[in-house]
């Protein structure tokens, strides 16, 4: 047994050090691509344990990969260079609400949806709502700076973090930010850490911002004969003085996939649908709903559906939640992208995606948070078909190129991880990437924290097959 393993075993309870092959393989993947076998999985349940583990790893220069529930779509928790998977999902859940301050302190293992559930008991809400919120941990959300439909109106994870407790790659505990909304004391390390994909340390606690829960919601579903019209309609609404809480788009393939999985009465003959959620006071909602209806009629929408009951509305949003996994029925392998463009460029991006679909002959479907320009082009393919996978790789590159051309970004909310790393320079330039690397070097001199993510290794290319 290696020295570092011996040290781990003398510091952490044995039943939480997993070395059996079956256990190690069970932490070798996430919801994205690739399978990497770690040497050990360690399950930490306190910050003291995290400190011990990270110190041992730093001393012996063994890589550490923090992991929540492994729902990541960009490879964040993958142990690409072997070493220690640090499983934080079994940490006891702590949700301490400070209702009067509109804040909440949480442990990293808390499922994101549970924070909102607790907040709602007090008429409050935790706004970020990634589709996987009922499965994913807040630790993972912080690491990846996750978004979600409500990002349109309320922003993404980073906009709701007031402070963090972090174990640095050298095993020290620091606190960033605090309990207040305003705080300009020094560099904003909180925002640096959120979205750093576990490369700067291990988050052991977070103070999050809560907001008053809107009094009411109104869902409106609009179907279109043309995807481009749907794109235009989105811009129209946003420039009409209304800020919906959500504005989602689904193309026909997505509509059909969810309808065949769990029928929710979506129009399967529409080329695209836009689902809007307005929130606020019920009287305001009436006025805004009428306004949306007018805009849609004017622009030539095919049909407007306003659910009559809360259950009907919930069913529509439930089906939106199911899109990502349900489209995998089309073909088993799913390459999920989250290239994001300025919202006015959505129609152009839709056109570019059409061209890409045809040029590379791939099953490309589109859904996403159209209101904030964050689309999810997904390519459905079969990992076992090598020739097809080559075409998919080219199509993915073309998607990245299109997003950057239109003034957008590689990733709106999934993170860079392993797959998008080779394209960083295209968006940020060589110096931009270099500055980021310098930050990483000074935080993590031994490069033990989640190596292989964000920064491409020399000659690294996008590869979607195992060999």
């Amino acid at each position: 047994m290696s020295d570092w393993m011996m040290e781990l075993k003398s510091n952490i309870p044995e039943q939480r050090i997993l070395t059996e092959l079956a256990d190690r393989y069970s932490y070798s993947f996430d919801a994205s691509f690739g399978e990497h076998l770690p040497e050990v999985v360690v399950q930490a349940k306190s910050k003291e344990e995290v400190v011990q583990i990270v110190r041992i790893a730093n001393r012996y220069k063994v890589p550490v990969y923090p992991r929540g529930q492994g729902t990541c779509l960009s490879g964040g928790p993958l142990p690409v260079h072997g070493g220690i998977v640090l499983d934080l999902s079994q940490w006891p859940e702590k949700i301490d609400l400070n209702v009067e301050d509109l804040t909440v302190n949480v442990s990293p293992s808390v499922l994101t949806a549970n924070i909102n559930k607790e907040a709602e008991k007090h008429g409050l809400m935790y706004a970020p709502d990634p589709s996987s919120a009922h499965v994913a941990t807040i630790g993972g959300n912080l690491g990846e700076n996750s978004g979600g439909p409500r990002g349109l109106k309320y922003g993404v994870t980073k906009d709701h973090v007031l402070g963090l407790e972090l174990v640095t790659p050298e095993g020290e505990i620091i606190r960033t930010g605090g309990q207040t909304i305003k705080n300009v004391t020094g560099y904003d390390l909180t925002k640096l850490i959120v979205g750093s994909e576990g490369t700067l340390g291990v988050i052991t606690e977070a103070t999050l911002k809560l907001m008053p829960k809107p009094r009411a919601e109104q869902t409106v579903t609009i179907s279109f004969d043309e995807v481009r019209t749907a794109g235009l309609a989105i811009s129209q609404v946003l420039t009409s003085g209304i800020l919906p809480s959500k504005m989602e788009i689904m193309d026909q393939a997505c509509i059909r996939a969810v309808e065949s999985f769990q029928p929710a009465g979506l129009p399967v003959d529409a080329e695209a649908i836009v689902i809007i959620e307005l929130d606020g006071h019920s009287q305001t909602l009436e006025i805004e709903t009428d306004l949306v209806r007018e805009i849609m009629n004017e622009i030539g929408a095919k049909d407007i559906l306003i659910p009559k009951t809360k259950e009907e509305a919930n069913q529509i949003w439930q089906s939106r939640k199911q899109v990502s996994p349900a489209i995998a029925k089309i073909k088993p392998t799913k390459v999920s992208e989250d290239a994001t463009v300025p919202r006015s460029k959505i129609p152009d991006m839709m056109d570019r995606l059409n061209e890409i679909r045809e040029k590379y002959n791939v099953e490309l479907v589109v859904f996403g948070h159209a209101g904030d320009g964050n689309l999810h082009p997904n390519i459905l393919c079969d990992q076992r078909d090598k020739e097809e996978m080559r075409r998919v790789e080219q199509a993915v590159e073309a998607i990245f190129e299109a997003a950057i051309d239109l003034g957008g970004t590689l990733s709106g909310e999934h993170g860079i991880g392993t797959m998008k790393a080779p394209f960083m320079e295209n968006e940020l330039g060589a110096v931009g990437v270099e500055m980021m690397k310098r930050i990483k070097d000074s935080w993590d001199p031994n490069h033990i924290m989640n190596p292989g993510k964000i920064f491409a290794e020399k000659g690294q290319k996008l590869v979607l097959t195992d060999d």
């Binding site: 079956a22 399950q43 499983d87 499965v135 995998a328």
Partner: protein
């Protein structure tokens, strides 16, 4: 058949590893590792097919799966977890028998305990004798049963009082309603139900008859084969299926009624055991189309009203197999709500398995008790006087849970059928 085919390698590709199954899985919650989650198990099955892991690596994660199928209800890509699990079990079982390993427990259970109604009757009689003769009291006092393997003593304590062999022998194979019969149904008695909950079976027949249904009990019926399939003994399970299909074809009944969630789940999947297009497949399909849980038929015929108020607070523990495999969710709740005077307090997490899971609680006793403790916490939160359930395994497990909580004086576990009969069902 190649290993890849047998272990359903192709089906594993339906899993996109989204992890949506994790919060639904009881063993992931209590065992606290991904290895004991549906996503982890499916991944291991895939790895075995790819020769990256051995069948031995797969054994524990598969054997510790409850098979409650809660994951299939939340799975957005409709992964055929049931078939993947059964395939994995078969491969493990094959390896075990090739290696000449025989498990004593399973030999006992599968070769003498479950296969025929006769044996279960004998068991019922023995249990009756054991209880009536005073042997049980003596055994308890001397802690004799403590020496029994597999914690069977824990189960013995919660087995209900058994009717005398005479009572059993008195049962007819054919019951006519007093009013003209509207249809003929066949009753699937189930071996555990018939062995340990004979009276509940009698009550089931009584309910059907009161609805105006003619009830037939085909003599040649046998064990449904669920437990065999769960243990990887697919061939045995298939043979039992054939015998039942034949027995019920002869009865020419409109419906095949059962009152055990686990058996019902097996019965409605009989066609999976045969090759599509084959004669047996077609016969199985016809059989399957007639299978109904007692609660479904009572809601459908809508003939009964309940005349005797039951002033009691109850909670309902659904059978996982009834919910997740049969897809029967609301009929039992609707029936409970029809009883005058009753207060129904639903569980916070009704879909969380109770840990009984066939014979899981016998074979994996400690793991099962951890799951039961989670369940009982939820149950106690509703502070019920009765826990209502629809499956013998769940019923015994709930009784065990009540014992563990030390609540035998204030709480009991009741089969839905017994509750309904207590409520004075009459034709409208």
């Amino acid at each position: 058949m190649s290993l890849q085919e047998k272990i359903n390698y192709d089906k594993t590709f339906d899993c996109v590893q989204c992890g949506y199954c994790l919060p639904a899985c009881p063993t992931y919650e209590t065992m606290e590792r991904e290895t004991h989650s549906p996503r982890g198990r499916i991944n291991l099955v895939k790895l075995v097919a790819e020769n990256k892991a051995s069948i031995e690596d797969l054994r524990e994660p598969i054997e510790k799966c409850l098979g409650c199928m809660a994951c299939t209800t939340v799975c957005p890509t409709n992964v055929q977890y049931g078939q993947i699990l059964e395939g994995a079990k078969e491969v493990i079982e094959d390896q075990r028998s090739e290696a000449g390993e025989r498990s004593r427990i399973e030999d006992f259970l599968f070769e003498s305990f479950f296969p025929s109604g006769k044996w279960m009757h004998t068991l019922g009689n023995l249990t009756w004798f054991y209880q009536r003769s005073g042997l049980q009291a003596v055994a308890n006092r001397l802690s004799l049963t403590q020496a029994a393997p597999l914690h069977l003593e824990k189960f013995e304590r919660v087995i209900p009082a058994q009717p005398s062999p005479k009572m059993r022998a008195k049962r007819a194979n054919h019951y006519q309603p007093e009013i003209p019969a509207t249809a003929t149904v066949a009753f699937f008695t189930g071996c555990v139900m018939d062995g340990m909950f004979f009276e509940t079976n009698q009550h089931t027949i009584e309910l059907l008859v009161r609805c105006g249904l003619e009830v037939i009990l085909p003599e040649e019926q046998t064990c449904c084969g669920a437990l065999h399939a769960h243990a990887g003994k697919i061939d045995d399970s298939r043979n039992l299926a054939k015998r039942n299909i034949e027995a019920f074809e002869e009865s020419e009944a409109a419906y095949i009624i059962n009152n055990a969630g686990g058996c019902g789940a097996r019965l409605i999947e009989y066609h999976h055991l045969f090759e599509e297009g084959s004669d047996w497949y077609e016969r199985a399909k016809r059989f399957v189309s007639k299978v109904k849980d007692i609660s479904q038929i009572l809601i459908e015929v809508e003939e009964l009203e309940f005349t005797k108020p039951i002033n009691r607070t109850v909670t309902y523990q659904p059978s996982c197999h009834m919910t997740n495999v049969q897809g029967v969710k609301t009929p039992p709740l609707e029936l409970i709500k029809k009883i005058p005077g009753i207060t129904l307090k639903e569980l916070d997490r009704p879909d969380f398995c109770c840990g009984s899971a066939g014979i899981y609680n016998i074979i994996n006793y400690e793991d099962s008790m951890e799951i039961l403790d989670v369940k009982m916490k939820d149950v106690c939160g509703t502070d019920p006087e009765s826990i209502i359930t629809t499956n013998p395994g769940c019923l015994l497990q709930m009784k065990l849970g009540i014992e563990r909580e030390g609540a035998t004086d204030t709480m009991d576990a009741v089969h839905l059928v017994d509750l309904l009969l207590e409520a004075g069902p009459c034709v409208k």
